[in-house]
């Protein structure tokens, strides 16, 4: 078995008396889509926050590409090849779709201490940005629209294009389907499936159709603890999981 891309060992995060991440260990292997499911408040976003470097864990380690990154800054991890999308999209609201992605391309192209040449007409940024918007199927006529005027679905797709601009080795996706309509969810599922074999993914998602369609392995998180990890079939059959999560979802 190849060395995992991401290895989480004994991770703990407490908010006062609440243990949001409770001695959590899991890994993501090259090329794998590893889904993380669990009820609201299970600690999924808190985990993503620690993996990306926004939240400092109280104990445990995070290894990315074989390196201990537990204390590394967000930009340092991103430069190593970590890409993340937000549960609540984070975009530059006053800019167009194209400008948002072009800036992400620029960030990946090296430092930005360049003070003279116009960036908004630089084909070295715009051409890759257009290609990324193509890749995620962002509709052509909407590319000049400002984020503030976009639908929730368009924003989610745009954010994915920005993440991909960093040529990530690992994607941390926090509920990419949240707020999408049924057809948009299916399109997003297709887009993610098309990425398979490229970056590995840790996929946090409530949409079970998407999870079962995409995931190689699934980990179930309850109260910050991983109660089970396995294939879709194993997870479906797991009584503890049914009790804690799936039954409730189905209800």
């Amino acid at each position: 078995m190849a060395e995992p891309i991401l290895e989480i060992a004994g991770l703990v995060k407490r908010f006062g008396g609440l243990t949001a991440t409770d001695h959590l260990s899991l890994d993501v292997r090259p090329g794998e889509i590893h889904a993380l499911i669990g009820p609201n408040g299970a600690g999924k976003s808190t985990l993503i926050g620690q993996l990306v470097g926004e939240i400092a864990p109280d104990a445990g380690t995070v290894r990315f590409l074989g390196q201990d990154v537990t204390r590394a800054s967000v930009p340092a991890r991103v430069k190593m090849g970590l890409g993340r999308s937000f549960q609540i999209v984070q975009l530059l609201d006053e800019e167009t779709a194209l400008a948002n992605v072009a800036l992400a391309v620029q960030a990946h192209a090296g430092h930005s201490f360049r003070f003279w040449r116009r960036a908004d007409r630089d084909e070295r940024l715009l051409a890759p940005a257009r290609a990324l918007l193509d890749q995620v199927d962002f509709p052509e006529p909407r590319r000049a629209a400002r984020v503030a005027d976009m639908s929730a679905g368009e924003r989610k797709v745009l954010e994915l294009a920005m993440v991909l601009a960093g040529a990530p080795r690992l994607l941390l996706l926090d509920e990419p389907m949240a707020g999408l309509g049924a057809s948009e969810s299916i399109r997003m599922t297709d887009t993610l499936r098309a990425l398979k074999g490229g970056p590995a993914m840790l996929l946090v998602e409530h949409d079970m159709d998407a999870v079962f369609a995409l995931a190689d392995r699934i980990t179930v998180l309850v109260y910050g603890r991983a109660i089970a990890t396995g294939t879709a079939a194993e997870i479906r059959a797991n009584p503890a999981v049914q009790e804690a999560y799936l039954a409730e979802e189905g209800a």
């Binding site: 990306v52 926004e54 800054s73 967000v74 930009p75 991103v78 430069k79 993340r84 937000f86 984070q90 975009l91 530059l92 609201d93 006053e94 800019e95 167009t96 400008a99 072009a102 800036l103 992400a104 620029q106 960030a107 990946h108 930005s112 201490f113 360049r114 003070f115 003279w116 040449r117 116009r118 960036a119 908004d120 630089d122 400002r146 920005m162 993440v163 601009a165 960093g166």
Partner: protein, 324 residues
């Protein structure tokens, strides 16, 4: 297109102003216009960090003042023929004092920015103000350079080929330097660096997530803005032939910020229009009553609350320019 024509007319009018003042028999007019340009210059530099970088510095007069004092101190040592610390000779050459002013202001901005930019929000506003106040009291205490009373610069700086004792020539010089600065700032705002700065203003979290650490970019912008204010202060010192700690008081910082807000945050020419409007209002209201500040205050509050985009937004609406 309309924008370009309006810009050309504005520039032509600015160049012709000294002739107009003479034709209208307003001998003091060109001098007032010179001081307005200096204020506009300082405000433009502040606009780079407030309007494009989202850094609300409430101590920008510190760099304006350091630029002015650089001219004053170099003059004082030139007059006495006595090098600073026995090492650096004084000078009255603008081609030296102006870069020196930018250097000193830039250094101060580098130190203050490096510390202040570790904070954000209200804390950042307060800490920039506190550093500016520290410098203010430092210069109040510097008795060698006039302390509280300030110092007089007997003669304006020399520039080869020009005679700055002639107010018209000084005015054109200031206009030229300001235009050069605005052009530079326009390039910076449109560059990759400018895109990053704009991104930081809109969403720092997003910038980190694409791999950009905001701090070095913010610091670089803060230093550039400090250098601009230093140049503005150097020119102002030449116009007034006088420097005192008042030039770096918190009231002056407030005035510079008001000019930015009044003119239109994040616009290239907003600070210029803001400076003209503020001086105009002060002059006009000052003619009506000695308590003009009581009227000016509410006007500014109304602009801040309701006049989104300041004067520049109004101008754009008049010109039919739509802003993306």
């Amino acid at each position: 297109m309309r924008e370009k024509i309006a810009l050309a007319i504005l520039f032509a009018a600015a160049v012709a102003l000294p002739f107009l003042m003479r034709a209208l028999d307003l001998p003091g007019g060109t001098g007032v216009a010179t001081s307005i340009l200096c204020l506009a210059f300082a405000a433009s530099s502040l606009n780079l960090i407030i309007g494009h970088g989202g850094m609300i510095s409430f101590g920008h007069a510190a760099y304006y003042g350091i630029g002015a004092y650089t001219v004053g101190i170099l003059w004082e040592h030139f007059r006495q023929q006595e090098p600073i610390f026995g090492l650096i000779p004084g000078t009255d050459q603008l081609l030296i004092t102006l870069p020196a002013a930018m250097l000193m202001a830039g250094l101060a901005a580098a130190v203050i920015g490096a510390l202040s930019l570790r904070t954000s929000g209200v804390q950042f506003i307060m800490i920039t103000l506190a550093f500016a106040q520290m410098l203010f009291f430092l210069f109040v205490g510097l008795k060698a350079y006039g302390g509280d009373d300030g110092m007089t610069i007997r003669r304006r700086n020399a520039v080869p080929g020009l005679d700055l004792r002639d107010i018209d020539q000084l005015y054109w010089l200031v206009l030229g330097v300001l235009c050069a600065w605005l052009f530079l700032q326009w390039r910076i705002v449109g560059s990759r660096f400018g895109r990053v700065l704009e991104g930081i203003r809109q969403n720092e979290r997003r910038m980190r997530a694409i791999g950009i650490s905001p701090y070095p970019y913010k610091l670089a912008a803060f230093v550039i803005a400090g250098m601009g204010a230093g140049a503005a202060g150097a020119l102002m010192a030449n116009y007034m032939r006088f420097v005192s700690p008042d030039i770096m008081s918190w009231q002056k910082s407030g005035e510079i910020m008001v000019v930015v807000i009044l003119g239109g945050i994040g616009t290239l020419l907003g600070p210029v229009l803001g400076a003209i409007a503020l001086q105009g209002l002060e002059f006009f209201l000052g003619g009506l009553t000695e308590h003009w500040a009581i009227i000016l205050g509410p006007i500014l509050v109304v602009v801040v609350l309701f006049g989104r985009g300041g004067i520049m937004a109004l101008v754009n609406r008049l010109l039919g320019v739509r802003r993306g």
